[in-house]
């Protein structure tokens, strides 16, 4: 857990000390329900390993991913975000993936500007048959995020036993 220095002179280290190699970063992966989600399902049925900290959120198209959603994820302490969509020219909805690329570019610039690090956000393009590429990209992203360290904005995760049933 990262402690906040309370005093006015205290400043949070922008990069936490590097975590052990076995650390599984918390990653949110937005998958378009045509190509990306099918590739993810195929990776699952083929038992291709991908990092344990990955949580997949399905959207009809990566063009639907709103910029605030990505920022919200980082504000809530997520270590990395991936947006996975169709191959360029292969978007089921014509050009949603191209829009998503421009939006992720902007968020990456914002993440760099505020000091969180734009490398925590990646966009991946693949087709629904590319299960191994899906798994590889997630592994690579997790590795990048391991070198960057945990999100300094992380708060301890709520345990399932606490709170209302």
């Amino acid at each position: 857990m990262i402690a906040f220095d309370g005093g006015p002179s205290g400043a949070l280290e922008k990069k936490a000390p590097s975590a052990p190699p076995s650390w599984q970063p918390d990653m949110i992966v937005f998958c378009c329900s045509y190509c990306a989600h099918s590739a993810a399902a195929l990776a699952g049925s083929r038992r291709l390993p991908y990092p344990a900290g990955v949580r997949i959120i399905s959207t009809p198209c990566t063009g639907k991913v709103e910029m605030e959603h990505i920022l919200e994820a980082f504000e809530k302490g997520v270590d990395g975000v991936l947006v996975v969509g169709c191959l360029e020219g292969g978007c089921h909805f014509v050009e949603g993936n191209l829009r998503a690329r421009k939006r992720t570019d902007r968020i990456r610039a914002i993440l760099d500007e505020i000091g969180l690090g734009g490398e925590r956000l990646k966009m991946v393009y693949l087709s629904d048959a590319m299960a191994s590429l899906f798994a590889e990209c997630l592994q690579e992203a997790a590795q990048t995020i391991r070198t960057l360290g945990p999100n300094p904005l992380k708060t301890p995760l709520r345990k399932e036993s606490e709170g209302e049933p």
Binding site: I28, C35, S38, P60, K64, H69
Partner: protein, 384 residues
């Protein structure tokens, strides 16, 4: 490919069946056949597609409700084992056409007891083409039986890493053994073919014998497997349908949607999907036709409820959504606010992410559930 096959393992006359099928198709009043044609462009939605075909150089528009892909495959060509460089090395399809009335191979002429060796899994089940083509072992057995029938004193050897005459085809494998066909099982890479003054020599490690053997065939037949059709790559782009790593078309879901492509209203069958026997292709084709009929038999199609909806109170009529939508679904209505025309909306949500007032929502995909979902996903011990 079907034209190269005269008779199936079970004895069906393929040539006659094919001729009858072609005749029935060409003369059917409700079937229009375009030969020497390519698909240039396709647009629209299930029940209402428009395609542009290049028919022998000129463009034709066709309106249709569904697409069924049955573009097949091809026998893989090879340069291994001196194929293409030595007269006496041929492929199984060449052997079959010889056996079905073509000119006999010079290597066999005049001989009553020639030696014919068949090598299985040529350029198959290796690093480049890891998949098994399913039909080659049965094809080899079929041709071996036919050779034995015509030349009872011939020596036929089938060299393979495995024999995959699966299911009831095992009966024909038994028959081949009874007829004296020799099956030599060898490990990977334990087979070599050399040329010695024009003479072919096959050196193979025989697992059953426990030692290496040298065979001097008069004719060497290669089972090279089935490769994806050359047009797959281009067609994949036009249809926006993915190919597998092996280059065949990827079905939407192997268990739940096995004869459909990912895009709604598009179906596939036969070797376009993967190597298979003709009876298996026909079964798959029936399945594809049945699934396609589900769309064609309806007078009206229901569309999924994922539609974008504008809240007019929040809308500032900036027309961002109007400009953005690839389907032209939003318009500025008489009340000077944006409105999404439901029938044209495909539910992609691009307008939702773009609206500067956040006035558009995608039904069943709203913002508040997203925040709640994010919170739940980040609970420790939850989804791990």
């Amino acid at each position: 490919m079907a034209r190269n096959i005269r008779i199936t393992l079970e004895g069906t006359d393929v040539g006659a069946h094919l001729d009858q099928l072609i005749h029935a198709t060409a003369s059917h009043p409700r079937i229009k056949v375009f030969l020497k044609s390519d698909l240039v462009r396709i647009s629209g939605q299930p029940g209402d597609f428009t395609s542009v075909l290049n028919v022998n150089g000129s463009e034709t528009r066709v309106e249709h409700g569904v697409v069924i892909l049955a573009t097949g495959g091809q026998e893989r060509s090879t340069e291994q084992y001196f194929h293409g460089r030595h007269r006496d090395v041929i492929t199984q399809s060449k052997l079959e056409s010889m056996l079905s009335g073509g000119p006999p191979h010079p290597a066999l002429s005049g001989k009553s007891d020639p030696t014919i060796a068949m090598i299985q899994c040529v350029e198959s089940r290796d690093a480049k083409n890891p998949y098994c083509s399913r039909v080659c072992c049965s094809e080899a057995v079929k041709n071996a039986l036919e050779i034995k029938r015509r030349l009872p004193h011939s020596r036929v050897l089938i060299l393979g890493r495995d024999m995959r005459t699966y299911g009831f085809r095992e009966i024909y494998y038994q028959k081949a053994l009874e007829q004296g066909v020799e099956f030599i099982r060898h490990p990977d890479d334990a087979l070599e073919v050399v040329e010695n003054e024009g003479r072919l020599e096959v050196e193979v490690y025989d697992v059953a014998a426990g030692r290496g053997r040298t065979i001097l065939p008069d004719l060497l037949v290669l089972s090279t497997g089935i490769a994806p059709a050359e047009t797959n790559s281009a067609l994949s782009g036009v249809l926006r349908s993915a190919l597998t790593d092996d280059g065949f078309f990827q079905e939407a879901h192997p268990k739940l949607r096995p004869v459909e492509l990912a895009n709604e209203g598009e179906f596939l069958c036969g070797v376009a999907h993967s190597p298979r026997f003709m009876d298996e292709t026909i079964i798959q084709a029936h399945a594809a036709a049945a699934r396609a009929s589900a769309i064609l038999s309806k007078a009206q199609l229901e569309i999924v409820g994922h539609m974008a909806c504008v809240n007019p109170a929040e809308c500032v009529a900036c027309a961002t959504c109007v400009r953005l939508c690839p389907y032209g679904a939003p318009v500025i209505n008489d009340l000077r606010k944006a409105e999404v025309r439901g029938a044209m909306c495909m539910g992609c949500g691009s307008c939702v992410a773009a609206c500067p007032s956040r006035a558009v929502v995608l039904q069943q995909q709203e913002r508040e559930p997203f925040s709640a979902m994010l919170d739940e996903l980040l609970v420790s011990g939850g989804s791990r």
